[in-house]
Symmetry: C2
Subunit: 159 residues, 2 copies
């Protein structure tokens, strides 16, 4: 781990963003995951080519790194991403237990070229009823019985 980040890895993330954008694979975003000074996995945005709205560079890189390391945890790894992650990718970084993040473009830069990152950042912290996404709670008493069963479950694998 380096405090300052290794420019070689960020240049690789930026290069992926440029190359795959030019090839028409998706938006201009790239990411690499590094452990012990070596690239473990790379990702780039393939939302439109894979027809998968979750296929952002960071999510693609995380999934690939987990596949290579055969682990759902990336503790001990760092991510270099050509743009500040959207909330989906930022939360994925937390769930993956990545230990450090380096980014280049900002969410405002992304908004300036037409991406919704900043809008979604504004939506996430709002109370459910104030979001632009209509949302309703239902059957919570039925669902809570499943959580109670999880709490009691002795052979669960926590993550």
């Amino acid at each position: 781990m380096t405090e300052t980040g290794d420019p070689r890895f960020m240049r690789r993330a930026i290069e992926l963003s440029r190359q795959m954008m030019r090839e028409g694979r998706g938006g201009p975003f790239g990411a690499v995951i590094v452990r012990d000074g070596e690239i473990v996995a790379e990702g780039f945005n393939m939302v439109t080519s894979a027809k998968d709205p979750t296929a952002h560079a960071e999510v693609v890189a995380i999934r690939e790194a987990c596949r290579k390391l055969d682990d759902f945890s990336l503790a001990g790894c760092e991510i270099y991403t050509s743009c500040e992650p959207c909330p989906m990718c930022l939360a994925a970084i937390y769930w993956a237990r990545l230990e450090r993040m380096y980014y280049a473009n900002s969410r405002e830069d992304a908004a300036d070229i037409g991406f919704d990152d900043a809008f979604i950042y504004d939506e996430i912290p709002k109370p459910v009823e104030q979001r632009s996404l209509p949302s309703m709670r239902m059957l919570d008493r039925e669902a809570l019985t499943v959580f109670a069963e999880w709490a009691r479950k002795e052979d669960k694998i926590e993550y």
Copy 2:
């Protein structure tokens, strides 16, 4: 679309959460995506069995619905999820253009049985430098040239 939600679909999401938890596939979470009163796709948490930290029920359901509909947009669809989505899944719901969300358990219920949803909700809105994830910006001038090229690109597919 219904304002109130169809309990059959939520019961299916809850049933998936219970069944797959019991089968040891992952955490106690299920989701279904509905269009025109029919289930398009189902998902359940498979983080530990698929070794994929992004394989939350909602993300799995979104990816499967996009595959079935051959589209990166789920405009016109609704999601029923057995638990309020974490920020990763909530942002994925926005990116997928889902039009309505129904949920049962809350993020607090999830926190009560040991999941980090509430913690990550608290982290997302913080300024980058105040988060528990060490984060650093670098090479932003180099990266911005790629965004400028995207802005000029005439054959881009927006999403």
